[in-house]
């Protein structure tokens, strides 16, 4: 593929190459999503026992041969695997994630309600940690190997080494029990948002600072920076240029961290009883409610893949060399 691009007349039409790249991105996105959906459907077969059996046991019905066969017939389990996969996928496209094993209610509204709450929590913590990490990373890179850099690196190292469940437990201990600043069980108010957001933001800030600092350092070691310094360009403008040129990479860093954020929010939601999708999925795991678990993985996976694909497109759009 690379060969065909380079042998074509150079600069004939940049729009063509851009459209080709977008097309390739799109095909890749669809390919990955199909694999994701297939793996998610296969999750149902990971544990021993077929869906009919799982459904009956999760509803607490005694499993006999007759009941089991009737249930299998009703769920259409006697048809081939691929047919069932296709039907399930078609349903997902129409926004139908199946019915819950627990209460026979459709799964999609439950997931949507949880997702909304999770997005609130996740975006608040993402925003908070960006507000802190971005300037600190710039500062650390700019003052490399001097006191501010050491302090920022130390903080980032500890943030990076703390599991988020520990942060939340320690925060609870310090703020609720020792200092009595917050009630132990907070409702869904702004006050209730504070501790989960902090618990999610601290480890993320640590990772962001570490990765962004490394990225700024790469940019600072480029020739153009040395050239600007020789020409006596003010440090202020120099930093602005460096930030502009690292934006693409920083977007990629952020997009990759969203995966960790999703996993972390499952833990945090369960600690603080935040009614998000993570709390829903843990309840479903205990109840062996497979359609909810599958919907959760499918939704989170799709968001993650799409966000990273978007970051990739932005990365190329932000790179001025691609447009020349």
């Amino acid at each position: 593929m690379k060969r065909s691009l380079s042998t074509g007349r150079k600069g004939r039409n940049d729009n063509v190459t851009r459209i080709v790249r977008w097309g390739k991105n799109l095909i890749r996105l669809i390919f990955i999503l199909i694999i994701l959906s297939f793996l998610v459907f296969a999750l149902l077969y990971l544990a021993p026992g077929d869906p009919a059996e799982k459904r009956l046991t999760s509803q607490g019905i005694a499993v006999t041969k007759e009941v089991l066969d009737a249930e299998r017939e009703r769920l259409g389990l006697f048809r081939p695997f691929l047919v069932r996969y296709g039907e399930w996928l078609l349903g997902v496209f129409r926004g139908d994630f199946g019915v819950s094993f627990r209460d026979d209610l459709p799964v999609a509204p439950k997931l949507a309600a949880g997702l909304q709450k999770t997005v609130q929590l996740a975006s608040a913590s993402l925003l908070l940690s960006l507000i802190f990490s971005f300037p600190l990373a710039v500062l650390a890179a700019w003052k490399k190997d001097r006191v501010p850099d050491h302090i920022v690196c130390l903080l980032s190292f500890f943030g990076n080494s703390l599991p988020n469940f520990l942060i939340s437990v320690l925060l609870m201990y310090l703020l609720c029990i020792r200092m009595r600043v917050f009630p132990v069980i907070a409702s869904g108010s702004l006050q209730g948002l504070f501790m989960p957001v902090i618990s999610l933001a601290i480890p993320m800030t640590g990772r962001f600072i570490r990765q962004m600092r490394a990225e700024f350092l790469v940019q600072l070691s480029e020739d153009y920076v040395a050239g600007m310094r020789r020409r006596g360009v003010k440090e202020r403008y120099l930093i602005l240029n460096v930030i502009r040129n690292s934006l693409g990479h920083i977007l990629t860093i952020i997009a990759l961290q969203i995966g960790t954020l999703m996993g972390g929010s499952v833990v945090i939601e369960n600690i603080f009883r935040w009614p998000g999708i993570g709390k829903l999925v843990m309840e479903s795991i205990t109840a062996r409610d497979y359609p909810v678990i599958m919907g959760f993985v499918l939704i989170m996976g799709t968001i993650y893949v799409a966000v990273n694909q978007l970051a990739d497109i932005c990365f190329h759009a932000l790179d001025p060399r691609g447009q020349a």
Binding site: L43, F157, P163, N164, G259, M262, G263, I285, F296, V305
Partner: protein, 269 residues
């Protein structure tokens, strides 16, 4: 600079060694049995008999921390070691054979990395419901990838070296070349990677345990101990703070060691 790094590595390594020794000899050091419940000493504050106090069932927290470290650290090391082996093996195959096998395996690796790791791990561990083994499988699905990529790229650059072509000309078999020339040269970068993975793996495993997807009670494990004792943190904070402190300490020590070794290797070249 390098001298200073070396002493720092030695000190941190010694700290890591002490943690490992304490956990290995948990049976000798632990003052009490970690599973014996004592109705007379429920949620007792730290004292001479129970240096870290007791938990909700009157079990000695210090002994449980020591034995729990065994579970946590053994699972972490075992998982990192397995990923190391699997990743190195796959990476060397990709690097030496090339062709369709290389393309296929690297494609699989790419696809595995394009899903959110912890989300997949939670779902898989939850569905497997197999205790620590399930949690390890769930995390291991994606862990081998970093080792495989590293091993592959290093194998490819080693393959360009003159001593490889002379070994081929000398009529050595491919397996022989892999064993005697490629594998030993891979060890240093892969070992560094393994060291940096220890902290992350421990965070992941104890996170899964905390969610109740790891060990099955009453087995002592740091994440599940914290999760259990969280319910009565107001009455017996020591039952949470002790395992929390050792978890943080262990992760900090291993992360720091990983950073130092990486820096050491970077200043070398």
């Amino acid at each position: 600079m390098r001298r200073r790094l070396k002493t720092r590595i030695l000190i941190t390594g010694a700290a890591a060694g002490i943690i490992l020794l304490a956990v290995i000899f948990a049976g000798v050091i632990a003052p009490n049995d970690p599973y014996t419940t004592n109705a007379l000493a429920i949620r007792k504050a730290p004292c001479a008999d129970y240096p870290f106090g007791t938990d909700n069932l009157g079990r000695c927290v210090l002994s449980r921390v020591l034995y729990g470290g065994r579970t946590t650290i053994a699972a972490t090391f075992f998982l990192v070691f397995l990923s190391f082996l699997a990743g190195t093996f796959i990476g060397m195959i990709c690097g030496t054979c090339g062709g369709w096998a290389d393309r296929l395996l690297m494609r699989i690796a790419d696809i595995l990395l394009s899903f959110p790791q912890m989300v997949v791990a939670i779902a898989v561990a939850g569905i497997l419901n197999g205790g620590m083994k399930g949690a390890m499988i769930a995390l291991g699905i994606t862990m081998w990838v970093s080792f495989a990529r590293l091993a592959r790229s290093h194998t490819m650059s080693i393959r360009q070296e003159a001593y490889i072509s002379s070994a081929i000309l000398a009529g050595k078999s491919r397996l022989n070349i892999i064993c005697t020339h490629i594998f030993p040269n891979l060890l240093a970068p892969l070992f560094t990677n393994a060291l940096t993975q220890v902290g992350t793996t421990m965070i992941g495993l104890s996170g899964l345990s905390f969610l109740g997807l790891g060990v099955i009670p009453p087995t002592a494990e740091w994440g599940s101990m914290i999760s259990e004792a969280r319910a009565y943190i107001q009455i017996a904070p020591w039952a949470v703070l002790a395992p929390a402190a050792v978890t943080i300490l262990t992760i900090v020590v291993f992360n720091y060691l990983g950073d130092l070794v990486m820096e050491y290797r970077e200043t070398q070249g």
